[in-house]
């Protein structure tokens, strides 16, 4: 099983540990992982802003980069959704690509969905002594069908308990460019999510999308919460939730 790992532009820039955690999980599950080194962005920022041309160029690039893989795994419901749910429409004007796009969409998976439903993973390397609450990202939930998979895998993490918030499926207010175009509304929506997170009284908030993570963490810290950890589900499952300083050492191994 040749699995192509698309880490996403946010992970690349902001949280490489999520990329390495995904790599570790996929390798532990017995996959041969390819990481195309020229990968950058799936084109979603342009697509959602109405600039089809900009998005199409990047989509074409991605299709070419991952053409040789049996699967593409993405530690993000948002970018995964872009490829699976939206690439076919985005490239509808390019009939020469229709078959390739359809093939790509079919083999694109969000990380936890892949681990549970394709790799059939039932154990994970991570350990975590504490409680977590899980936020369902909108695109993960509604475009990629991610709901039970992360919870199933988290339940396999030794020492971890899950405490659900009241409304895990409520949007966090990120919405990509929405967060910087309508900052006030975005902040208010994030604020309500933070209240819900805090009412769950968990040690950590865990999510599958870095966009949501940055948004909610940003608001938590501004509200004065320096205690609640904010972690990507890949990091927790891979047991890579240690402080940043370890990152360089770990990845040089």
């Amino acid at each position: 099983m040749k699995v192509g790992l698309f880490v996403t532009c946010l992970v690349d820039l902001m949280r490489p540990s999520i990329g390495f955690a995904s790599l570790k999980l996929l390798e532990s599950a017995g996959c041969e992982v390819i990481v195309p080194t020229r990968q950058t962005c799936c084109g979603q920022p342009g697509y959602n802003s109405g600039d089809r041309k900009a998005a199409q160029d990047l989509a074409r690039k991605l299709i070419a980069e991952f053409a040789g893989c049996d699967y593409i795994v993405v530690p993000s419901g948002s970018c995964g959704g872009m490829i699976r749910a939206h690439y076919p429409e985005l490239l509808a004007e390019c009939p020469e690509l229709t078959a390739a796009v359809a093939a790509l969409a079919r083999k694109t998976y969000e990380l936890t969905d892949f681990l549970v439903n394709v790799a059939r993973t039932t154990s994970v390397p991570g350990q975590f002594s504490g409680s977590v609450t899980y936020h369902d990202s909108c695109s993960g939930l509604r475009e990629m069908g991610v709901k039970t998979q992360p919870r199933f895998l988290l339940s396999k993490v030794a020492g971890l308990t899950i405490r659900e918030m009241d409304q895990p499926e409520e949007c966090c207010g990120f919405g990509g460019t929405f967060a910087v175009k309508y900052g006030e509304i975005s902040t208010r929506i994030a604020d309500l999510k933070c209240e819900d997170v805090q009412s769950a009284r968990a040690d950590a908030l865990v999510l599958g999308d870095l966009g949501c993570m940055l948004n909610i963490e940003g608001r938590l810290r501004r509200r004065g919460d320096t205690n609640t950890r904010v972690l990507h589900v890949a990091e927790v499952l891979a047991g890579m939730t240690d402080p940043i300083q370890d990152l360089d050492r770990r990845t040089a191994d």
Binding site: D12, L13, M14, R15, P16, G19, F20, V35, T37, Q39, T40, C41, G43, P45, G46, N48, S49, G50, D51, R52, A54, A55, D57, L58, K61, E89, C138, R142, E143, E170, C171, G173, F174, G175, G176, F178, A179, V180, K181, Y182, G183, E184, I185, S186, T187, R188, I189, A190, D191, N215, E217, G218, R219, R221, R222, L247, D248, T251, A252, D253
Partner: protein, 472 residues
């Protein structure tokens, strides 16, 4: 209604800061979302019914001409006088003409969102006619001199105390403190008007082609009164409301009332076919129906035609995180929330509502609950695309996106620039790992949130190192 949608951001800001509006919105959200969810569970095959509903509405759009002609044939045979109006202006002119012809002085109205589109009340009042809204919520906002903030619950933004003060002032009676008492006072005050109005104006939820009927979905009884008591009844409705059969309506109604208020059925479903029959002791002597285009054919011809499937339930706005926090008035026209973000630019001009399709996280909470499966986020995206092709986006935004795309298509350049950003970002973030202030567009983020800092190196940099290490 006047269009103020380009003041969206400022309006939204005011609403976010208004504790009364916030309280009212929280109250409404809790009730409507839970009620809908509970009532939908009564339908064990909800998705199947929903798919059928979407198909019925699409049939209505695809065969609209044939269905409207069929509807008209049946309606006229039953004695209905049918008018067609291309513009909002024509609607108002037709209604005034009908009123003049019949020596109408006093008009009662049951809800019509289309009437809001055309500013009907204003035109009628300017023509010297006495117009009274009778739906309690519409009556309240008419007395306030305001516009509805929600298509189902127009006065949802008002508190009981606001209304108590209003009634004490307008009705000249002692101030009441109880919601039930306020409602019954409105009943008493409006009852004489039902009995002596010359003309009733209503909307129509659906036009049924099979029978030439209009129908309305109500709870209060004012709709029945408006369509039965006065000697002339005028119904105003859009071309897209036509459905083929009574069976189709029965199916749509199962979803409409549940999606709107969580009711398995609304109190009154009234199907009107023509005026008073010979022998009838009640009913209007004349029944007029005005079929209205007002931009709808343009939408039908466009890439967002699915928006015309809308059956005006309000579920999308009830479930929308943006609407839930800013309310309906910020959207600046008749239809708020997700459907409003699409219909407003579609009907009043895309340049007059630039923010609306952009002010969404595309979370699709709306699309999941829409009873006729309108792909709301996709339609919003299509309007965003139209804004780009019509060069309506700010230059800086267009440039920024093109720069991003250009760079991301060139991995070496991209890697170089992101490497710098990761390093600089980490440095600015300091020991706390947070950036408290970002420049330019970033300030929209940092005015309310911190921005977690990057970690110093990009994944691609670290992975290259990782690969090198592994090869040794």
């Amino acid at each position: 209604m006047q269009v103020t949608s380009n003041q969206f951001k400022k309006s939204a800001s005011r609403k976010l800061a208004d504790p009364k509006v916030q309280k009212a919105l929280r109250n409404a959200k809790g009730k409507l979302v839970v009620a809908r969810s509970r009532s939908i569970r009564e339908l064990d095959n909800f998705e199947e019914i929903r798919e059928a509903a979407a198909q019925i509405r699409d049939l209505g759009l695809l065969h609209m001409d044939v269905l409207l002609e069929q509807w008209e044939k049946k309606a006229v045979a039953a004695g209905t006088i049918v008018h067609w109006a291309e513009t909002p202006q024509q609607v108002n002119e037709l209604v005034i003409e009908i009123a003049r012809k019949h020596d109408v002085r006093k008009i009662i109205k049951s809800k019509s969102m289309l009437g809001e589109e055309t500013n009907l009340n204003h035109a009628l009042e300017a023509a010297g006619l006495d117009v009274r809204e009778t739906d309690l919520g519409e009556y309240i906002i008419q007395q306030f001199g305001e516009t509805p903030s929600h298509i189902i619950a127009p006065a949802v933004h008002k508190s009981k105390d606001d209304i108590a003060d209003l009634f004490a002032e307008k009705h000249g009676r002692p101030r009441l403190n109880d919601i039930s008492a306020l409602t019954h006072e409105a009943r008493e005050v409006l009852r004489p008007h039902f009995l002596d109005a010359d003309m009733g104006i209503s909307g129509a939820n659906f036009l049924i082609a099979e029978t030439g009927s209009t129908m309305i979905v109500t709870n209060e009884g004012n709709g029945r009164m408006t369509t039965t008591m006065p000697r002339v009844h005028v119904a105003v409705t859009g071309i897209e409301k036509v459905v083929p059969t009574l069976e189709d309506v029965a199916l749509l109604l199962r979803l409409l009332t549940r999606s709107a208020t969580g009711q398995s059925i609304s109190n009154y479903l009234s199907f009107t076919t023509g005026p008073k029959r010979s022998g009838d002791k009640d009913g209007p002597g004349e029944f007029h129906v005005i079929i209205v285009d007002a931009g709808r054919t343009q939408v039908l011809a466009s890439e967002i035609r699915e928006a015309l499937r809308c059956i005006r339930c309000g579920a999308c706005m009830n479930h929308c995180p943006v609407y839930q926090n800013i309310g309906g008035h910020a959207y600046g026209w008749v239809y708020p929330g997700p459907i409003g973000s699409i219909l407003t630019p579609a009907l009043v001009g895309i340049e007059n509502a630039l923010d609306l399709p952009n002010a969404s996280t595309l979370c699709n909470q709306c699309g999941v609950v829409c009873p006729v499966k309108i792909p709301l986020p996709d339609l919003m995206r299509k309007l965003r695309e139209r804004q780009v092709t019509e060069k309506l986006r700010p230059w800086a935004e267009r440039f920024g996106l093109r720069l991003w795309a250009w760079t991301a298509a060139r991995p070496a350049v991209y890697g170089f620039l992101t490497g710098i950003a990761a390093r600089v970002g980490k440095w600015i973030g300091g020991a706390g790992g947070l950036l408290h202030k970002l420049p330019a567009a970033g300030s929209e983020w940092t005015s309310g949130r911190d921005f977690p800092a990057p970690r110093g190196k990009t994944f691609r940099q670290l992975y290259a190192r990782h690969r090198k290490g592994a090869r040794r």
